[in-house]
């Protein structure tokens, strides 16, 4: 290239090599690079944000399947008086202070961190008698009972006061006596008490005690406020229960209405003691296999179930048909030094760890179930930290049948909340997943025929002008908020269906019949008349006829109901067929969700059918096939993957539909395929329960699991659909 002649031509641009131009180019280059990085950064971060959803859901859900962690913090010799063996251990709420009670009735409060004793109280200070029996009541009341050799019982509570001097937590333990420090005389004849069970609920106490001469005594104490005297009066009720065998364990439930006795042959007797003066034997069962004997008998929290440990190392749960402190978990120890943490609902061994080589003898759980104190045979105390946030669920309890307390058989139940702490949460997602599938099933039954037939006609037979109108109508249909569909379904359609049920079924018969009748009559008309309406306008022709048939069906509904079903079909169904009818039922929901998914299925299948290359159809028509034959044998066959993906995407939408399900079903989690009954779907359950779920709780995480399930199900449906569609596109472009 020649040097530009500076005199001959003046460029409008600045000189290419001038510093100014170079600077400008550099600046443009920097802008270009900056732009690239910015766009890449922005784009990638949006994509990451989208992917984050799946991982975040997983991150929230995972902890419920994580096994518990048990870590040894310290161990030290048993605190307090070493000479006397331990009878009982307990921990307070913050698990900072422990309590040990030894055989002589001395209570030692100690620091769990190192075993230093902070307070010593002699429970039997007011009585000269020996300690012969001990029992602890409901952990929530922190009640202790000491049985004495002279037939007396001392009831005591261990309590903790938390103060914050200088912003440091200080826990001061104390012992109080709800009925005074003097012993309560249970056996007036002064025999020693060898075994004891006691409960106190803040108002009344019940004591069951076995005397050395094998009498079982029952004593009920109640503080009665008197209007005249200042001193509260003590009302007592007493009775005795005859016993035959050697009793090995006595336990009393929290409500003081049930008493269980275990004997040395492995039988458990269940007494109703609602009336303290007349105890009644309800049942006697063998709880362990022959040859084994009962080694331990305890209540599960809530006082409904009892746990029986036997010499063969098994633990069974029993409850009449009608531990940890506030959950249905329990801890067991055995002679080989193993410590196990279990949960009854989840049917799950959460942790099994061998702490020591020697047998473990005593164990105590902190009220929040986050620490354990265990003493082995050599008098060594181990203080353990327990990280066990979600013991109540397992894969099996979420999807399988679980035998819940007070139920007569294993069941799938979703029942997430209750006010009281002794409630057994029932987290079975099966009925909810069933509800979701039921909704989707009925929705698809309604939507698929209408959407696909409509798509076939619109894409292939309809006149172009009408087609664009139909397509925009369907687009509007797709845009209708589901909350409006749900509201109409729940408040207008559901009551209407209930009062016009025969009419609804009549429409199902009458509408296709009138369409066919019109079609038959149409082809009988002379050609000149038919020519006035061009092809592809059948849909417009049919509209008034269909409106007429619907009106006719609804008008005939009342007389039909009177004539055939005694004037009330829902009632007739219940009486004659045994079918329960709910106003907000699957029929209503199916139609509403069907209405919501029709546009999706319609649009995608219409696109697929319309996209079938014209060469195929014209070829078929040229060979003499009728339009319908071409449709079925050529077009549908080619477009079938597209229709399949349309159905998949529609299914994904039906599964995730929320507001319609919330508003138009009864939202009861029942598993019944009956079209006249409601259900509770996964999505509705999330929307209804999430706002009141406690952050980080098991309920919270199970709801996230439900969300994750929905996410994956729809993701799988959509991915399949998308892949099929992409292949179809390739196929079309090659044709």
């Amino acid at each position: 290239m020649a040097e530009p002649n500076s005199s001959s031509r003046h460029s409008v641009l600045a000189d290419f090599h001038s510093p100014q131009a170079i600077r400008h180019r550099q600046w443009r280059h920097i802008k270009d690079v900056l732009n690239r990085y910015l766009m890449s950064f922005g784009g990638v971060s949006v994509i990451i944000a989208i992917v984050l959803i799946a991982f975040y859901l997983l991150y929230v859900v995972l902890p419920i399947f994580k096994p518990a962690q048990v870590n040894l913090i310290t161990d030290y010799p048993a605190p307090g008086d070493k000479a006397d063996a331990t009878m009982f251990y307990a921990l307070e709420e913050q698990h900072e202070i422990g309590l040990r009670i030894n055989k002589s009735g001395q209570a030692d409060f100690f620091k769990t961190g190192g075993g230093e004793v902070v307070a010593v109280i002699d429970l039997t200070a007011w009585s000269p008698a020996e300690v012969t029996a001990f029992a602890s009541g409901d952990p929530a009341q922190a009640m202790l009972a000491v049985g004495l050799s002279d037939g007396g019982v001392i009831l005591a509570q261990h309590q903790y006061r938390v103060t914050y001097p200088n912003d440091i937590r200080l826990i001061t333990p104390s012992i109080t006596y709800p009925f005074g420090p003097e012993p309560i005389i249970v056996d007036a004849s002064g025999n020693a008490l060898v075994m004891l069970a006691a409960q106190w609920d803040g108002e009344q106490a019940t004591i069951a005690a076995l005397t050395a001469d094998s009498r079982l005594l029952l004593l009920n104490l109640r503080q009665e406020e008197s209007l005249i005297e200042d001193e509260p009066k003590l009302a007592t009720l007493a009775s005795s229960i005859p016993v035959e065998k050697n009793i090995s364990h006595i336990i009393l439930d929290v409500d003081q209405r049930e008493l269980y006795l275990a004997d040395s042959d492995g039988y458990i007797s269940y007494f109703d003691i609602s009336n303290k003066t007349t105890p009644r034997l309800i049942q006697k069962v063998r709880a362990v296999a022959k040859g084994n004997h009962i080694t331990s008998l305890e209540f599960l929290s809530g006082g409904i179930s009892i746990l029986v440990g036997d010499s063969a190392g098994r633990i069974t749960q029993w409850f009449p048909v009608r531990a940890e402190y506030s959950r249905k978990g329990f801890v067991s120890i055995d002679a080989n030094g193993y410590l196990g943490i279990y949960h009854t609902t989840a049917h799950r061994t959460i942790k099994l760890a061998r702490l020591v080589e020697t047998p473990l003898r005593h164990v105590a759980i902190a009220p929040r179930a986050n620490a354990i104190l265990a003493e082995d045979e050599r008098g060594n105390v181990q203080f353990l930290d327990v990280a066990n946030e979600h013991p109540e669920v397992s894969w099996q309890s979420i999807w399988g049948k679980v035998w819940y307390e007070s139920r007569d058989r294993p069941e799938y139940i979703w029942q997430s909340s209750s006010a009281s702490s002794d409630f057994e949460p029932k987290f079975s997602l099966t009925p909810l997943a069933f509800g979701t599938l039921k909704a989707a099933f009925y929705a698809m039954i309604f939507a698929i025929p209408l959407a696909i037939l409509g798509a076939i006609y619109t894409a292939y037979f309809m006149a172009a002008k009408v087609r664009s109108m139909v397509k925009s109508t369907v687009e509007i249909m797709a845009a209708l908020p589901t909350v409006i569909l749900g509201f109409l379904a729940g408040l207008w359609f559901a009551p209407y269906v209930e009062s016009h049920l025969p009419g609804m079924f009549l429409i199902l018969v009458l509408a296709p019949f009138t369409v066919l009748a019109v079609a038959w009559c149409w082809q009988l008309l002379p050609d000149s008349t038919r020519a006035r309406v061009p092809d592809g306008n059948e849909a417009i022709l049919l509209a008034p006829v269909l409106v007429g048939s619907v009106i006719l069906a609804l008008w005939a509904s009342g007389p039909l109901e009177v004539w055939l079903f005694d004037g009330n079909l829902p009632y007739w169904l219940r009486q004659e067929m045994g079918i329960t009818y709910e106003q907000r039922n699957s029929l209503v929901v199916g139609i509403a969700i069907g209405f919501a998914v029709i546009p999706t299925i319609f649009s995608i299948s219409e696109d697929a059918i319309f996209g079938v290359p014209k060469s195929l159809t014209t070829g078929s028509l040229a060979l003499g096939a009728t339009p319908w034959q071409t449709m079925v044998r050529v077009v549908l066959l080619t477009a079938s993957p597209g229709i399949f993906s349309a159905i998949m995407i529609g299914l994904g939408r039906a599964v995730g539909e929320t507001m319609i399900v919330v508003m138009a079903t009864g939202n009861t989690a029942i598993m019944d395929m009956n079209i006249f009954q409601g259900f509770r779907a996964l999505s509705a359950n999330i929307a209804v329960e999430m706002p009141e779920s406690e952050v980080g709780s098991t309920h919270f995480r199970v709801l996230f699991l439900a969300g994750l399930v929905l996410f994956f199900v729809t993701f799988v449906f959509n991915t399949i659909a998308e892949l099929v569609r992409q292949r179809l596109r390739l196929k079309y472009s090659s044709l």
């Binding site: 802008k31 270009d32 900056l34 732009n35 890449s40 922005g42 784009g43 990638v44 949006v46 994509i47 944000a49 989208i50 959803i53 209408l450 959407a451 006609y457 619109t458 037979f461 109508t473 369907v474 509007i476 845009a479 209708l480 908020p481 589901t482 909350v483 409006i484 749900g486 109409l488 729940g490 408040l491 369409v515 038959w520 082809q523 849909a539 509209a543 009342g558 007389p559 109901e561 009177v562 004037g567 009330n568 029709i598 009728t626 339009p627 319908w628 449709m631 995730g656 539909e657 929320t658 507001m659 999330i686 999430m690 706002p691 952050v695 729809t714 449906f717 959509n718 998308e722 892949l723």
Partner: protein, 555 residues
Amino acid sequence: MAARLKQWIESGSPFIWLSAGAVSILILMVAGLLLLIAVNGLGHFWPAQIASFAYVDDDGSKIQLAGEFADHELVPLARLPETDSRVPPGQTSVDRFLIKTGNRDFLGLDFRWVLGPAMSNLAYPDEMMAVERREWGNFYGTLVEIKDQTISAGPEVDLWEKMQRQIADSGRIFDQIRHIEKNLIGTINFDMERLRLRERKLELLGIMEAAEHEEISRQGVVLQSRYTQLTDELASLYEQFNRPRFSARLADGTEVELPFASVVHTYRPNSMTIFEKTRFYFHKLWEFVTDEPREANTEGGIFPAVFGTVMMVLLMALIVTPFGVVAAVYLHEYAKQGPLTRLIRIAVNNLAGVPSVVYGLFGLGFFVYFVGGNIDELLFPEVLPTPTFGTPGLMWASLTLALLTVPVVIVATEEGLARVPREIREGSLALGATKAETLWRTVLPMTAPSMMTGLILAIARAAGEVAPLMLVGVVKMAPALPLDGNFPYLHLDRKFMHLGFHIYDVGFQSPNVEAARPLVYATALLLVVIIIVLNMTAIRIRNTLREKYRAAEQQ
């Protein structure tokens, strides 16, 4: 005949007709649904005639009832609990009317079903008046006299006119009271809370300087004195407001006394002309859109819900547009095309199909509790333990919906980018423009309409979405709008009301569903109209766009 039928079936023609029937049904369903919403939603505001009639009650006693006809049905006799002597023999079904009797404070219920045959002497007396009240729903009766008026009217003015004037005056006082309570006292409370937080912040930072604390307490005293002054003013206004009363006669002849304080307006529909009714109708329609709800959302307007929806959608649009466009540009222009981008496209497409409630879950867990909780700890430690951003609110709702709608924008923008002819890009590059310049000066401007389409579709979707909002920030009754006169004016942390949720809440959670139903229809109509208009716009833009490019391609 049989042969002809066989031939007819073989030709497949009946199936074509059946599929045409399916299309017909679809169109009829959509039209019917829109018609249903429109009729019910718009009909509610028309002043209905008040009927007065004698009625034989269930127990055989004769009573006089008055009210509006709300519904009618034909009931088969078998559905009635037992044989009724009031029904003439030989009939199989009977007319049943739902009467809106109003007067909930005197009758206990607003609505009652009456049997047609038991009604007699039906009349529409001119002097029957309907009183819309701030509590207890409508009142129906005849005016007797007015007591303790606050304005004086000459003797030439008749009783009805006097009442109208008094209502106007009471309304004026009511507006004053509301202004003081909501705006003036609201600002004082807001400032006081700010002072408290400032003090708490100083405490947290360990600043003990006396000057600061003194300044705060001085300002507190000023606010307190202003507050006392306002409460005094309020007390005198209330005294004026509560004094005037009127007495009216119920249908059964008992005379009752009602305060003007509870009256919104009164009208006598039976004596109104068509012109007056039309005016009244539009007045009511306007009131519905611009007024605040009354009586647990079952009466009055829906302004806060409209406002909340608009605010949320605008914020969402602000967030979703740049992110969606940047992601689409990256995917289409910068990323290397290959299996990975294909995978990403599938993922983005799929996300449009993920149930919205799952987005709500994510928003609640990630945005509200995780991000919001951390923001609170870092920026608003003085407010804790009351959460500021660690609780559902406007910002999180907008963000969640932005995430929900970002695939729509990405897909639409990418489609637009793909439609820009290759020659235009190449031409620009050949002229020496950098890639960035090509993008900003030629490609993106050409894509603008499709971005617009994507954005409108996103807005339409966001406006109708309810399930995720239930988790991340919508409430049935927000105490204050997210936009007001107190610094920083836009309160992103506030909860808000939403049209869609309003429909759900009023239709399903309100204590008096029957009374609230027309209002729900009207709300639904408003929402449907907004969404249809948005969608039509998007469809319009898209279609003209297609035409434009088709023209460009053919050149």
